[in-house]
Symmetry: C2
Subunit: 140 residues, 2 copies
DNA sequence: GTAACTGCAAAATATTTGCATCCTT
DNA sequence: AAGGATGCAAATATTTTGCAGTTAC
């Protein structure tokens, strides 16, 4: 299945019409291993989408559970594709994100198992994000 | 030791002059169990510090390792006191933060042990943040 | 054809910088 | 007294909102 078809069906599955900006932005996510900042999108797509369109597209994708935001220690806004199990309004990812303090890149470490967090029973856990800061394998 | 003296010595230890805004903001942190957003400071201190002063004070505290930022999924900026082991430029906290999706409060779960994250050896880990989303014990 | 999406303009919000004044040491 | 901290003004940057024109279905 070609990437274009993949993108189209992903959009249709989420009851979203297939538009140029959505397709291109989604394509960027699928071509990128790590996380994407809002600012990256205008640069890396080559396309010149309106800043507002980018904001709205990202918000739509988050709402639909296609992408999720990544909490970062330096409080920049990052987005990444959801792997699976995400439904509208509920993300069930248990992510490990690694932020390299040298190259600044954030990557999802899919191979790393997120350890169980043992909270008191009174808490209901919906999502666990683990953010690791340090030096990545490229910079080490 | 009174709180005032504690605050003063903490500031002096970090080579910071003891000023009204720093004392009051630090006092707020020490009186608050959870995390504090920038906006909370103008409200909760009762004092009216200039917004710029608050920005600069928070940044100074972060630089000195007195407080640290908390990554949040909704990309608001939160700050909390560092427990210990923080030195200038390097935070060694292994935090568990809990964000309640009902009341919106973020709290540090000091009692919860941060599990070990097993990364490939090529990575150097400096800090691990665990952010748990869900419903807290008060709202459950 | 209709509902939804986009782009532009502008408003609202958040953050940073320069500089004169005031406060801490 | 000297250096640093504050507050004000203003410059930037970021995000949101309204609306008219355009596009997907």
């Amino acid at each position: 299945m070609s990437v274009e078809i993949q993108i189209q069906s992903l959009l249709k599955t989420n009851q979203l019409s297939v538009t140029d900006s959505r397709s291109k932005i989604l394509e960027l996510f699928m071509a990128t291993s790590g996380a994407i900042a809002h600012g990256d999108i205008e640069k890396k797509t080559g396309e010149k989408f309106d800043r507002v369109t980018v904001y709205r597209t990202l918000q739509t994708f988050v709402d639909k559970g296609i992408i999720h935001t990544i909490p970062t220690a330096d409080n920049t806004v990052l987005y990444a594709l959801c792997k699976d199990n995400c439904t509208e309004g509920h993300h069930h990812d248990h992510h490990v994100h690694f932020v390299c303090e040298l190259c600044g890149k954030t990557s999802c470490l899919d191979a790393v198992v997120v350890p169980e967090v043992n909270l008191p029973k009174a808490y209901k856990v919906k999502q666990v994000d683990v953010v690791v800061n340090g030096v990545c394998k490229e910079c080490n």
